[in-house]
Subunit: 443 residues, 2 copies
């Protein structure tokens, strides 16, 4: 018997996603086996606590607390790394790739931090690293970028990549409720983690943006090199102001490349999107990714970005691809393609300097309610060549303070940051202004 | 030198799409070659008229008027069938598959009519048939269904699959203009064919629905077995009525399967969609496909459904897959998977009888404006157990006639068709009522 007629899968990490994979894989195994012409064996799974009760029934003989032993087990062909974090997950991933195995991962933090090392290990040892589940859950966006849109270059990719933030923003808007109240409710419902920082400060979105950037442009951009701003300073007032201006507010990742200059910008920030824009309608825990291809035009992908089942769907899609990799010649083309290639071979690109990242801006600040304030602020902005497009001023508690909302004409990140510094130094500006970007996406 | 280190592509049909493929492939060939590790050769192309001026420069020595000679040429590995129609296109496709070649096709009419024969020929002779471009142009929906969502069964797929119809409906709504005027304008702009019947009567959408049905459910449903209704009887009045009820109107394909009974229904009809529904916002020539998966939940795909570039993007994606097929062992798993498999191995299913196709309906009829008419109509509907949910009555030209719009509660196709027959026999109903379906899609 050809040893590859049995494919042996090990699952490292039997948390929510791991159990989902186990559950659905067991359910559809007979169908997959008949279609793929292999026997599929769930060989081993690693857990932190052997005694914990789980929703899926895994024979005790298959359980271990030693994830690394699965990664190095010669009786395992495919390792699903569903541990999370970047320490043990990295060790497990590198060990499995070094052993020439296929690793399937949902771990965007790991890829963002150690992607270059991981893909190099895969290349060097003939392993494969698949990661459909790392971005946008049940939406097959990795496959779309890498295979379906292979003829395209990608001048612009943007989208909602974090369901927790989108849920919070949707609730704040619909219920006119403050951030902290909605966050608390989201935690109670399990839509937000106990430690929400990674999500609401934009870092999780940045990790996913890094993965998409690598796929689209073949380069690794660290979150620290991006503009990353979260949603935690947005208030119900901002939704009212945005609405008065004809916008909704979404936390977007934006990956833009100018193919004339080969300058790339990657950023994560709350964005005012025209209410008529389809992405502005994507609410709750849903994700959306808009991909502008230079051949296909813009395609848009919407679906559940997280959760046990959506993530398991993506992991299983990778598992099926992994099986076809194992059944084919490891030296064949598809190897190189799956294991390490970005969407297309790409010219080198570099990060755009901040003065080349252009856009329009929304600024909300609390100012002292006294004569001459608007003049001082307008002068500070004019000094940095930032031109004001609209002003909304309203009284605000406590008495003596006013809320001032300005939108700007086209400016750039360098000018607006310089303006923010200047504004913060004005005595009449009572707290750090909130800066939101206006999303001028034609499609 | 391994003969597969040069991949030779023949293009049958150098019309709009064929020229697009040639143009983009020539442009990105160096990148693709370096990535795929092959030399890619555009070997031959067939045309109807050798002397016609074309936008792409093809050496005269590569041109032929004999498409079949390309299909049978031992020096061609991949045949792009972009001829259109179902006669020569079928001959070319079968000849190439019989010769063990890979055929890439954008021809939904061909697949809908001869799919079973084509896939059988591919299976028998070790050929491959790829058809990403046949549905929804630049959106990689075939790949999503077959690979990205492989873990899923599909209880519901619906969407806008014909850009011409969506353009016409959008224009009718936005400009409050009658069908014939908008159609004429669409023809002038090149958005509609000289013979518009295939598009506006729903048959093109039905062909695409047949392709999606095969992918999702492994069965071929002929357009004649579907409910197929077009957009040519819709009037600006219907948009006003729909809007008053909170709906827009879209021509949808709907593929629904009940996995308890394994009954399948495939239908194409103008559909009232709630204005808040994301698909209702998809306007102009764009397509949208909503896919409910039992694991991933609902994912939605939006993009350009036709046009030279969007279609070329899909054809080139298939070409790249074809190259990987040719570089791998032809007997390997991926062969079977790509060549003939539906999205998943599927249980047999059968077409649902019309009484099991349930829904709510919108009926507009012109009636004589006289006492007792509503009573007669209500009685006719009650006799078929169709329950009225709302009524809009308005005066209409010529004098003596009135427009009556009814919506129903849940009913079924059998009851509503019987009701239509009964209504048509009433003297007070002056012309065949227009029937639209109400789309109650939760997501």
């Amino acid at each position: 018997m050809n040893p590859l007629s049995v494919i042996r899968v090990g699952i490292c990490g039997l948390g929510t996603v791991g159990q989902g994979v186990w559950k659905h894989l067991e359910r559809i195994r007979p169908e997959l086996e008949s279609r793929l012409g292999v026997k599929l064996e769930l060989t081993r799974a690693s857990v932190r606590d052997l005694k914990k009760r789980r929703d899926v029934k895994v024979p005790a003989s298959k359980l271990t607390t030693d994830s690394l032993s699965i990664a190095m087990d010669p009786n395992v062909d495919i390792v699903c790394e569903l541990i999370g974090g970047t320490t043990l997950a990295r060790q497990v991933t590198l060990a499995a790739l070094t052993a020439g195995k296929v690793v399937v991962s949902a771990n965007k933090a790991l890829i963002s931090k150690h992607g270059a090392e991981i893909f190099e290990a895969a290349r060097r040892h003939g392993g494969h690293f698949l990661f459909e589940a790392s971005v946008a859950g049940g939406i097959p966006i990795i496959k779309a970028l890498r295979e379906g849109l292979v003829a395209n270059r990608f001048p612009l990719i943007y989208g909602i990549l974090n369901g927790t933030c989108n849920y919070i923003l949707t609730q704040m808007e619909e219920q006119d409720a403050p951030y902290t109240a909605v966050l608390g409710e989201a935690k109670r419902l399990g839509y937000a983690e106990a430690d929400e920082a990674l999500d609401v400060q934009g870092w999780d979105t940045a990790h996913k943006a890094a993965v998409l950037t690598f796929l689209a442009h073949g380069t690794w951009v660290k979150p620290e090199q991006m503009i990353v701003e979260g949603i935690d300073r947005i208030t119900p007032i901002d939704f009212k102001n945005a609405s008065a201006l004809g916008y909704g507010i979404k936390l977007l990742a934006v990956i833009a490349r100018d193919f004339d200059t080969d300058e790339l910008s990657v950023r994560v920030h709350p964005t005012l999107l025209p209410e008529s824009h389809v992405v502005a309608k994507v609410s709750g825990v849903f994700n959306a990714v808009s991909v502008r291809g230079d051949v296909a035009g813009t395609t848009l992908y919407i679906g559940r970005g997280a959760g046990q089942d959506a993530t398991a769907s993506a992991v299983i899609s990778d598992l099926v691809d992994a099986i076809s990799l194992l059944k084919n010649d490891r030296r064949a083309f598809i190897t190189a393609r799956k294991a390490s290639a970005p969407a297309r071979p790409v010219r080198a690109c570099r990060l755009a300097p901040s003065e080349h990242i252009r856009g329009r801006y929304y600024l909300r600040m609390t100012v002292s309610d006294e004569p001459g304030v608007l003049a001082q602020i307008a002068a500070a902005m004019a000094a940095k060549n930032v031109s004001i497009a609209s002003v909304i001023q309203s009284a605000q508690e406590p008495a003596g303070a006013a809320s001032l909302v300005l939108t700007t004409h086209q400016s750039d990140e360098r000018a607006i940051q310089a303006t923010l510094s200047r504004l913060a130094r004005l005595r009449c500006v009572l707290e750090r202004p909130l800066l939101l970007r206006i999303g001028d996406f034609a499609d």
